[in-house]
């Protein structure tokens, strides 16, 4: 009697293994195919973020350069020009560009942020002459290994620098404020021309009447009519700081402002005889 084996032969086992590996390979390939776009997307996103961050850093460098120029050159137009700044078309501002290569210690060297990636930064600075100076900067980054040819990213920063302007408040006392009678307080705008003031018609309610003293009793407002804000350096303790005065604006508690020191200009060569 011949023995009969009922299990799979060697060929059958090989076919089964092949089938299994094909199935697994297909699954893996399908998985990779599914993940690939995500990986590619992440890769592109990383590259773009890297460009944006570099552009932002360069824009910040331009802000630093602009501030230094404002503090160094102030309103000396010759100094601005000598330092490489150009005057804007309307005469209101200065502008300038920097490239990383220009900052290189070695002449002619091309400095790159990364392999094939170059950057430059630019600034436009409002001329000194106002208590508020607006600065706008641009950082630009282009090229690199991970981005398509011609890719360029720019970021913009707009900043305002201000120096103390004690004239921009209204009527302020560091200590006591005392009014007799019934004086009236309001605002107007001398830039309007022709200016014809009429109380209650074209008068405004901007500005502050007040004191920076933390003592509420520093305010002696009498029966004043204040169509402006009322400021006091005192914290809000529930009392009415206006007393008998009529205040149509807001009450500003803990009111603060800078009182910069006045520096006398250099008077060398000035006329010393009274006119």
């Amino acid at each position: 009697m011949n023995a009969h084996t009922t299990g799979p032969g060697i060929n059958g086992r090989q076919g089964s293994a092949l089938l299994t590996s094909v199935v697994f390979s297909t699954i893996i390939l399908l998985g990779i195919a599914g993940i690939m776009p995500m990986l590619l997307n992440d890769w592109k996103q990383t590259a773009r973020t890297s460009l944006q961050e570099a552009a932002f850093t360069l824009a910040e460098s331009a802000v630093d350069e602009a501030i230094w120029a404002v503090l160094e050159h102030s309103d000396d137009e010759n100094a601005w020009r000598s330092a490489g700044w150009n005057e804007g078309g309307n005469g209101n501002y200065w502008y300038r560009e920097w490239t990383l290569s220009a900052l290189s210690q070695s002449s002619g060297e091309i400095m790159e942020l990364d392999d094939g990636r170059v950057g430059r930064y630019r600034a436009i600075v409002e001329k000194v002459g106002s208590s508020r100076i607006t600065i706008v900067t641009q950082g630009i980054v282009s090229g690199g290994r991970d981005v398509s040819v011609g890719t360029e990213v720019a970021r913009y920063i707009e900043t305002e620098f201000r120096r103390p302007n004690p004239a921009g408040y209204g009527l302020i006392a560091r200590d006591s404020l005392n009014f007799n009678g019934r004086p009236r307080f309001d605002s107007y705008d001398s830039r309007e021309f022709p200016y014809i003031y009429s109380y209650g018609v074209n008068s405004g309610n901007e500005g502050v009447v007040g004191s920076t003293s933390t003592d509420l009793s520093a305010l002696g407002l009498g029966n004043a009519i204040i169509d402006m804000n009322l400021g006091t350096g005192a914290p809000d303790n529930g009392q009415n700081p206006a007393g008998g005065a009529s205040v149509s604006g807001d009450i500003i508690w803990e009111f603060e402002m800078d009182f910069p020191e006045v520096e006398v200009p250099n008077t060398s060569g000035w006329n010393t005889t009274a006119p």
Partner: protein, 249 residues
């Protein structure tokens, strides 16, 4: 008759030196009054008189004075940009200093200011054309001020007053005694029947040149955004920074 004529001529000749002497004395007094004292050291000052125009009306030259004090005699008109540093007192008295539309006056005063009667600084322009800055020694807020800027009578003030270590006082008033501009002082006192006070909103952008610049606002524009702010548009003349940069570079 001839004798009488001779006596008359002799008397006339004898009186001539006296007449000339009197004339010379008057002239010298006038010069002293009008020219003021040219003091030694860095500054002079003193009395002034007669009244006249001060400044270059064309605006090309800034007229500059450094005086130890100034007692004003007579009315003056400031017709051009003028800067005065007065170490001591400014006594305007009953006189008027008028700032013409072409003029401006920047005053640094280290002492008292006093005006009375019709005395005033009459600024016919906008408040930013008259800037009065106090150079007094620093005082703590609770200390009594050593210096006072007093405007009495009915003189109006259109200008910027910054005297953080002095007292600012107005006496008198009525509508003629109005103040337009901005006032900052250690103590502020409106006596009598004070006139109205009008704060000039245009002074919010004034640069008094005091203190240093510091960061006020910072805005990193979102990706793809380069829109100018309202202030930026006014200064740089463009609503979009991208196009402005492209135009400039």
């Amino acid at each position: 008759m001839k004798l009488l004529n001779k006596l008359f001529i002799i008397a006339l000749c004898m009186s001539m030196p006296m007449t000339l002497s009197t004339f010379s004395t008057l002239e010298a007094k006038k010069k002293d009054k009008g020219g003021g004292n040219s003091g030694g050291g860095n500054s002079g000052g003193g009395n002034s008189g007669g009244g006249s125009k001060i400044g270059d009306a064309s605006g090309t030259t800034v007229t500059k004075f450094h005086l130890s004090s100034w007692r004003v005699r007579g009315d003056y008109e400031i017709v051009g940009p003028t800067i005065m540093v007065i170490d001591g007192d400014l006594n305007i008295g009953n006189n008027t200093i008028t700032i013409a539309s072409t003029g401006s006056l920047e005053l640094y005063v280290g002492g008292d200011i006093d005006a009375n009667g019709r005395g005033s600084i009459n600024n016919t322009g906008v408040p930013s054309q008259l800037i009065v800055l106090g150079t007094h020694p620093t005082k703590q807020p609770t200390e009594s001020p050593d210096y006072s800027w007093t405007l009495s009578g009915n003189g109006a003030l259109t200008g910027v007053v910054y005297a953080p270590n002095a007292e600012y006082r107005t006496n008198g008033g009525g509508n003629a005694g109005q103040t337009s501009g901005s006032v900052v002082a250690l103590d502020v006192r409106f006596n009598g029947s004070p006139g109205p006070f009008h704060f000039d909103e245009a002074l919010e952008d004034l640069d008094l040149g005091l203190g240093n610049y510091s960061l006020s606002t910072y805005e990193l524009k979102p990706n793809g955004n380069s829109t100018a702010s309202e202030k930026g548009e006014a200064v740089f003349g463009s609503t979009d920074y991208k196009s402005l940069f492209e135009q400039l570079f």
